[in-house]
Symmetry: C2
Subunit: 219 residues, 2 copies
């Protein structure tokens, strides 16, 4: 069980708080709107809540923020308040500070203040949404390095009915199928060579990203 | 090469457009601000740009939106304009429509209009940020199903210096190491049993999420 502080109860900050609570961590929320603070407690978004203006360092001093496992600065639209608050948090030695930035210049200023991590929610989600509409065959995954990935794909139709041994993907593409999902309840991890691929199965593939793409296109 | 339309050049919409352009797709951007449209073309965010009010169906009729591979509705703050635009897009039979919602009620209304996919950028990024600060050992990954995951972790210190064969993680935890990253340029996929784990290596593990967590805690 860890202890986190979230400053700013907009949509991003509220979501951070709620997710941390669902993971059973302690969450202190801070906002200068009485209503937001009360709603946060009522909605179970926090274990503690304080109504204060985070640009005022004296208001923050006695909370013991340097003892928290992490602090999330979630004031976006009000750049001045965000930057003043970041300054305060750095002076109070907040650990593992993550700050949301509402624009690139905003983020650069936060970085100049040595905020260890700056996030751009709208920009990052824009990238994720773009990739998902442009690559409809890719359901999930991440890059291992610039050349290789782990990707979950819908089983290409022409692979259906074949066994892994027959397909010999390792020799033909240098990729491995490390999991096969059949329906909602049937998951084979590191499937045996005699495993068969059925229609609508999902395959988790590891290997060179180019080669995985080629595998999909060839089929 | 696919063809997409993005309506609304806020941070989210601009990021969608830019990412699609970086993937070499054709992007038409639509916004009712002349300045945003001109900046988008100047910044290379789009292959085409039109300044129009998307709540006016006549303005949208002759663009041929139903022929695009996807349409992203990225008007957030102005809920009324977002909803009226969604109505128009559904009537014009736009395919693969994704709309950003600025709140849960906003999203529910879009769903009632049968918008196939609604996204909540601030809320989703809040979840991602919360998980990353609460689970500092997890670098990347995704769920295969409610019980199993593929997770990239920093190699636990007490595993360092051991080979996969010695560690016998499959027998002890039922998990498999499917990749080892050594530094920036050394990636072993489906490593052999005699592979050694070095300090600062990153391990990609597949198996029951609980068991992976146990592996990390035991070490
Ligand atoms: N000086 C301050 N001290 C404490 N709380 C503040 C201060 N300034 C703003 N806030 C709070 O921060 C919260 C988030 O601010 P705001 O809505 O401007 O950010 P946002 O980034 O646009 O939000 P979202 O996460 O919804 O995109 C608000 O609830 C606001 O009351
Ligand atoms: N009726 C309309 N027709 C065309 N464009 C519009 C219309 N209404 C708003 N827009 C454009 O949509 C864009 C995004 O709108 P807005 O900034 O309100 O959304 P947002 O979701 O808050 O943005 P962000 O993605 O930055 O969070 C703006 O550039 C605005 O000019």
């Amino acid at each position: 069980i860890k202890q986190f502080a979230v400053i700013g109860l907009g949509r991003f900050g509220s979501s951070v708080a709620q997710t941390l609570r669902e993971m059973n961590h302690e969450v202190l929320v801070i906002d200068n709107s009485e209503e937001n603070v009360n709603n946060a407690m009522a909605d179970g978004l926090a274990t503690n809540a304080i109504c204060l203006d985070s640009t005022n360092i004296h208001a923050l001093e006695h909370i013991g923020l340097s003892g928290f496992d992490g602090v999330v600065l979630a004031i976006g639209a009000n750049m001045e308040d965000s930057i003043l608050t970041a300054l305060n948090l750095m002076e109070l030695k907040a650990r593992n500070l993550i700050a949301k930035a509402s624009s690139l210049p905003h983020g650069k200023i936060l970085e100049r203040l040595n905020v260890p991590r700056v996030v751009y929610p709208e920009r990052d989600m824009g990238e994720r949404v773009a990739k998902s509409i442009a690559q409809t065959h890719i359901l999930e995954g991440f890059e291992l390095d610039p050349r290789c990935s782990i990707i979950e794909i819908q089983a290409p139709k022409t692979l259906v009915g074949r066994t892994l041994f027959e397909l010999n993907l390792r020799a033909r593409y240098g990729v491995y199928i490390i999991a096969i999902k059949h329906g909602d309840h049937d998951l084979a991890i590191v499937p045996s060579p005699d495993s068969k691929i059925f229609a609508h199965d999902k395959l988790v593939v590891i290997g060179e990203t180019q080669q995985i793409r080629k595998l999909i296109e060839d089929h």
